[in-house]
Symmetry: C2
Subunit: 479 residues, 2 copies
């Protein structure tokens, strides 16, 4: 009578070789255990099941198992089946009695040293900008939307898809971006990508293939974005920066300019109205392209709306948005709204089939059209605004001499420091277990603007329970 | 008292401009409707909600709404709130009375012609190889696993991730590939990618950066894979092909060879045992790299196991597997098991953070470790074997003069045709609404092997209810 575990039916790859079947099978199994290919504790298929798979008699398998139990490689217990023995623990069959003859390198149990650097130990408090409060990701709502979306989807959704991304998501985004961000959107001109970086990579390659050589960037920004352009064999040259933000007046024959118009990262101001006009004018005059990074457009706390620059000139502006700040980076979902003339090239660069998972795309579409996205963003906005208020209050109390700017939007503020103190403050924070970035981290090496000492304080990342502690730790390290 | 829809709270981007607030808001709203930025039927926020957002008096919003209802741009109905009027349908507020003054291009309602070719109409029957039976994707089981995985995951899972992919998935894959495919796997050397094509793209770029110029491929294979190599600036040169399959004896100074050792695509035979040895010997002798495409290793119906070539020489073979055949292409999940010396470069080429969605990765990890993957594969294997049997029987009855090969594994067979008939059979199939590929589709243009006429009949794609019809349609078009 088969035991319960007889139906387990795990797949097991074995190639019995040599003269006798029993001998061949025993050798193959022993080898699999010895080299670590079968990990200690792995439950083997029942002899009946393995015999069927290999097309041999059940007795042959049972005998091979018995031999290996006797040798100590396997253990057999009533009711729990045959398992690979634990090594050197004294439990199970103990160490194999033939272990002195082992010569093969145990690849799995003693792997070579990893070549990828391990992440550093996590600091106690994290005030780095760029990641939202992961604890408030709406897990249950997301799972409900995933369920509704997957159970309602036609089978073809599960096949190879349109490289631009699922049409359901592109349609939902067109409606949302038009309504909430003032984007001139149309599903035919939207391409879904795996995060902003992926979108920038695709755009960089297309620009390079068109003969572009230089892309203007802001004096302050994210170095990985500049690296993305450099990797596409483009030169990233910074524009001047002053108290009104990035100054686009020096734009000349660059092929494109990468900007954060709604909320300069990390300085925090919107691009000045006159300068918005200057950029758009430059683009339409020279045929240049504006790459609009609208990374946190959902989070604006004051009442001065800042719509997408793309609305002013959809033929020369690429709008880039992302779910990384509004929902979670792990979704790896972002989107580009492209001028008509770029759609074909960017799509071809992405591939001949979609490379973004369809299930999360369908779930996000459902999230957007059901109103769950708006509800989540509104709740998050309220939570972040409260944090922002608490942060500004705490700084006013504990460090009234320090100037805080960029507080009207987003998930970070800029905290000016006395000249020459930035590095020591960041170092002191590290010692206290507080992860913190100075402004210099985000300054382009060729920037010409006067240097200033400041902290870029991200208040999105800490979970609620750690927020008060993070704030205290910050106040402790300020000069 | 607020209406139920007053709590809807959708986000609406408006920039009231001009002298008076009421006039400015009215103009901004009218403009949003006129240009199509707000689609007909869109429900607007309640006047209370919009007033709060804009920081103005509720009355101002209510008056602007009233003006626009009077002009016909909006409709207001008791209990269903204020909506954007339908245009020219006679319903709602009818066409706006001021429509003769419209001058802006309605970008959303009349988009420019799409630049991406639309997919052709779907044929009635689909016997193309490459896609599994999408109807048998285990939706409910997958959703259950997604739920378990997401609810149990720590928050950090939702942030930016290790570019190699989620460690939970890499660990689960190491166990599975080792046990079921004889791969020498180790989570530290696994990199998750968005489908086989993405993996090949990364490998091609890394090889090119190392100075590689030529990659040997098989005389028969998938043109998109060859294109992937060409896009990385590599030359793909085909190896000779004979009745034993691909002949690797002519390998010399190529930097790598791309092979389907377990199940040649599309010919269907495994790489001959002697030739497996020849390939591995070439690799270790010259430092060349073997790219092992194990696209459908899970589906083998006879009892002659064919393990991964990688098990013979993990230092020179890259093992590539995918969930596209065993589960569904739309997951966009595949994996590479890399020689230690390649891990760092391939990871860096993928990016500084993971580009594959974490939720599906966690779900697949849960699917593997819970045994649901094995159960699904076993059930699918049985279903596909029955189809294979039905196909072979039908061909034996209706076309006994035609030779069928490659039946021992996978989701397709090769059906030899009389010389000179391939093109006309494929054409006849198209006329009958049957999608079918001839062997010539998969032949490299520089291949030297004698041409043969054949069909590559995929039996994975049709859903169960269409399978009998597809089989009949096939038999009808055979010579």
């Amino acid at each position: 009578m088969p035991k319960p575990w007889a139906t387990l039916g795990i797949d097991l790859h074995l190639e019995p070789a040599g003269p006798g079947l029993r001998r061949g099978l025993t050798d193959a199994l022993r080898d699999a255990v010895r080299t670590g290919r079968l990990a200690p504790g792995t439950r083997l298929p029942s002899s009946r099941s393995l015999a069927t798979d290999l097309g041999i008699a059940r007795n042959t398998v049972a005998e091979a198992y018995t031999d290996l139990v006797a040798e100590g490689w396997l253990t057999a217990r009533q009711g729990s089946g045959t398992r690979v023995a634990e090594r050197g623990t004294g439990g199970g069959g103990g160490s194999p009695r033939t272990s002195t003859t082992v010569s093969a390198t145990p690849y799995v149990t003693a792997p070579p040293r990893p070549h990828h650097p391990r992440p550093r130990p996590r600091p106690a408090y994290d005030l780095l900008p760029g990641t939202p409060d992961l604890a408030s990701f709406p897990r249950t709502e997301w799972l409900k939307a995933a369920r509704r979306a997957l159970l309602a989807a036609p089978h073809e959704v599960l096949g190879y898809g349109d490289p631009r991304g699922r049409v359901e998501l592109r349609a939902a985004l067109a409606g949302y971006l038009s309504r909430a961000r003032g984007v001139r959107a149309d599903p035919e001109r939207i391409v879904v990508c795996a995060g902003f970086g992926h979108g920038l990579q695709l755009l960089g390659r297309v620009l390079r293939a068109r003969g572009a050589q230089t892309v203007a960037v802001e004096s302050y920004g994210l170095p990985p974005h500049w690296n993305q352009l450099t990797a596409a064999d483009l030169t990233a040259t910074p524009l001047p920066f002053d108290e009104l933000g990035t100054n686009p007046r020096e734009l000349t024959d660059e092929s494109a300019v990468l900007l954060t118009p709604a909320h300069q990262f990390p300085m925090g101001m919107p691009l000045h109205r006159d300068r918005r006009a200057t950029v758009v004018d430059w683009a339409s005059r020279t045929g240049g392209l504006v790459l609009e990074d609208d990374y946190d457009g959902e989070f604006r706390y004051d009442r001065q709306p800042v719509g997408a620059l793309q609305g002013l000139d959809p033929d020369h502006v690429v709008y880039l948005g992302t779910a990384s700040k509004s929902l979670a980076p792990a979704l790896r979902l972002a989107w580009m709204v492209l001028p008509p003339t770029l759609v074909e090239e960017v799509t071809a660069e992405k591939g001949h089939v979609d490379t973004c998972g369809a299930l999360d795309q369908l779930t996000l579409a459902e999230f957007l059209t059901s109103g769950a996205y708006d509800r989540h963003v509104r709740a998050a906005r309220l939570r972040y605004r409260r944090r922002r208020d608490a942060l500004v209050r705490a700084l006013a109390t504990h460090a009234p001499h320090l100037n805080v700017t960029g507080i009207a939007a987003g998930l970070h503020v800029l905290l000016r420091l006395p000249p020459g103190t930035e590095q020591s403050v960041v170092q002191a924070a590290t010692w206290q277990g507080l992860a913190l970035h100075g402004l210099s981290t985000f300054r382009h090496e060729s920037a010409t603007a006067e240097r200033m000492d400041a902290l870029v304080v991200g208040y999105g990342t800490p979970p609620d329970h750690a927020w008060a502690g993070a704030l205290e730790a910050l106040c402790r390290v300020l000069p």
